[in-house]
């Protein structure tokens, strides 16, 4: 496969994940969550941002974009996301669409400062890499840089999460998974009851996550069959999180980094 093909798969997975996120935001908008009496009122969220900006014109522009015309921004993002996979790369059209998408995502990230999640941050990484790698002026070299960047950010994410877990006593003892699944916020009543009955299952899952996350970056350097095993492990992990924890966007936006990882593996070609 050549570089644009890897990028195409990244774009498709990114688009699916981001379409889900944007429609969820539109749903919240429709429920009134972004209005003054909703959970995400701009007049409060903007306080810190405006203090930092200290510029009434910038504040006014942001108010227009993120309060009065937020609906249009969300609809625009939805339309552009739908178009993105079908546009020829390295054209002015692609450059323009990708650039507007970067701006839309930045604005929405600003709007969801509170309540945003890790998958939103990965989406931002992906869209910036898509723009920089596939715009009118970018060469094959830029494409490579961008795929490397996506792959390294993904590996950094798993490694950091793994290291943070192994230094935690709750994770090492196996308590963490049971306790997380016992919460109403991220848990599941049925699954937490199962974990309560079987302490070994909780211990197994804790260590399964720790080992998967810590060893994840090795997929770049181990022989190909092992890389596939690690990536399959990652897909299963995100699927599990989506089903049992409701972390649906993580599945699409983190697996969107996997084609970039596969590219880096083939590019490094350590085991030809």
């Amino acid at each position: 496969m050549n570089t644009p093909t890897y990028f195409r798969i990244v774009i498709i997975l990114f688009t699916i994940g981001q379409l889900i996120t944007t429609t969820e935001l539109l749903f919240l908008y429709n429920k009134g969550n972004f209005s003054d009496r909703g959970a995400f009122p701009w007049r409060i969220i903007s306080l810190d941002i405006n203090t930092w900006l200290n510029n009434k014109y910038a504040a006014k522009i942001l108010d227009y974009l993120l309060n009065k015309y937020l609906l249009y921004i969300l609809i625009l993002e939805l339309i552009l996301l739908t178009l993105l996979p079908f546009i020829t790369i390295h054209t002015w059209t692609f450059t323009f669409v990708a650039l507007i998408l970067v701006v839309c995502l930045l604005l929405i990230q600003l709007r969801t400062t509170y309540g945003g999640e890790g998958s939103d941050q990965m989406a931002l990484i992906l869209v910036v890499a898509i723009f920089l790698g596939l715009n009118k002026y970018s060469s094959q070299l830029s494409e490579k840089y961008c795929l490397y960047f996506i792959a390294f950010q993904s590996c950094l994410a798993y490694e950091t999460a793994g290291v943070a877990k192994i230094i935690s006593k709750k994770w090492r003892s196996g308590e963490a998974v049971y306790q997380i699944f016992s919460t109403g916020s991220f848990g599941s009543l049925g699954f937490s009851s199962l974990l309560k009955r079987s302490g070994y299952l909780s211990l197994f899952l804790c260590w399964n996550v720790i080992i998967m996350e810590i060893t994840f970056p090795l997929c770049l350097v181990v022989p190909l069959p092992f890389s596939y095993i690690i990536l399959f492990w990652g897909v299963t992990f995100h699927l599990f999180n989506a089903v049992f924890m409701g972390l649906n966007s993580f599945f699409w936006l983190f697996t969107a980094t996997y084609p970039a990882i596969l590219f880096v593996i083939s590019n490094l070609n350590i085991y030809p």
């Binding site: 930092w52 509170y114 002026y137 970018s138 840089y145 963490a176 649906n248």
Partner: protein, 216 residues
């Protein structure tokens, strides 16, 4: 990053013959921009005290901290409860703003409600961090209350409570107080623990045409 990808000879050739092209400029820009972003992202994972004070300015979240449920996993739920008062008299019992909803079968595809829960989580964590910082700086109770009551996470929670009570509670109440409570899981026998209790605030006002008017 250029050298390992192209090899030294090709890199030199590339450097000499492409100096003026836009593509070359773009390649250099992409390498520096993404290289710097990744480098700072790596440093950011260490959560050094010197960097943490700038965390509040990263409104867009360009520098993620990928620790996900670690080292201290979120093993508790946060709840908002509130009560109302009319003048000096408390007129209602503590009631909960129902934010936590149990997973449905389609949540693995579609789950918009997670953002409200995450927001409460973010706001509560910010308030706890702020309170800890104030204690560390040995602030008086008066200053601590002042700091907490004027920060964005506090105002967001107050707004949520105000809007909910405006819809579902006594319309004649003049003041509202909320508290944040932490519970410890579906199977826990441990009693919920209060984290923070607000002073009484004026409620949202019903204007003549039954619209919502702001009081802060």
């Amino acid at each position: 990053m250029v050298i390992p990808l192209l090899g030294y000879k090709k890199y030199l050739y590339y450097l000499i013959f492409n100096l003026k092209s836009n593509t070359y400029k773009m390649d250099i820009f992409v390498a520096i921009f993404l290289g710097l972003w990744f480098f700072i992202s790596v440093i950011w994972q260490f959560q050094l005290n010197i960097l943490l004070k700038y965390r509040g300015y990263d409104f867009i979240g360009v520098l993620p901290n990928w620790t996900f449920f670690a080292p201290n996993p979120g093993t508790s739920d946060y709840h908002i409860i509130y009560r109302l008062a009319q003048g000096d008299e408390i007129t209602s019992d503590w009631q909960e703003v129902p934010l936590i909803v149990f997973r449905t079968s389609y949540n693995f595809i579609w789950n918009p409600d997670k953002r409200e829960i995450k927001q409460l989580f973010d706001c509560t964590s910010s308030l706890i961090r702020l309170a800890q910082r104030c204690h560390k700086e040995q602030m008086s109770q008066h200053l601590l209350t002042n700091n907490l009551c004027t920060c964005v996470p506090y105002l967001l929670i107050l707004n949520t409570v105000n809007s909910f009570s405006f819809k579902y509670s006594d319309a004649n109440a003049s003041h509202i107080q909320f508290a944040l409570v932490e519970s410890f899981g579906l199977h826990s026998e441990e009693s919920p623990r209060p984290i923070l209790s607000s002073p009484f605030h004026q409620t949202a006002i019903r204007t003549s045409n039954h619209e919502y008017a702001h009081v802060f």
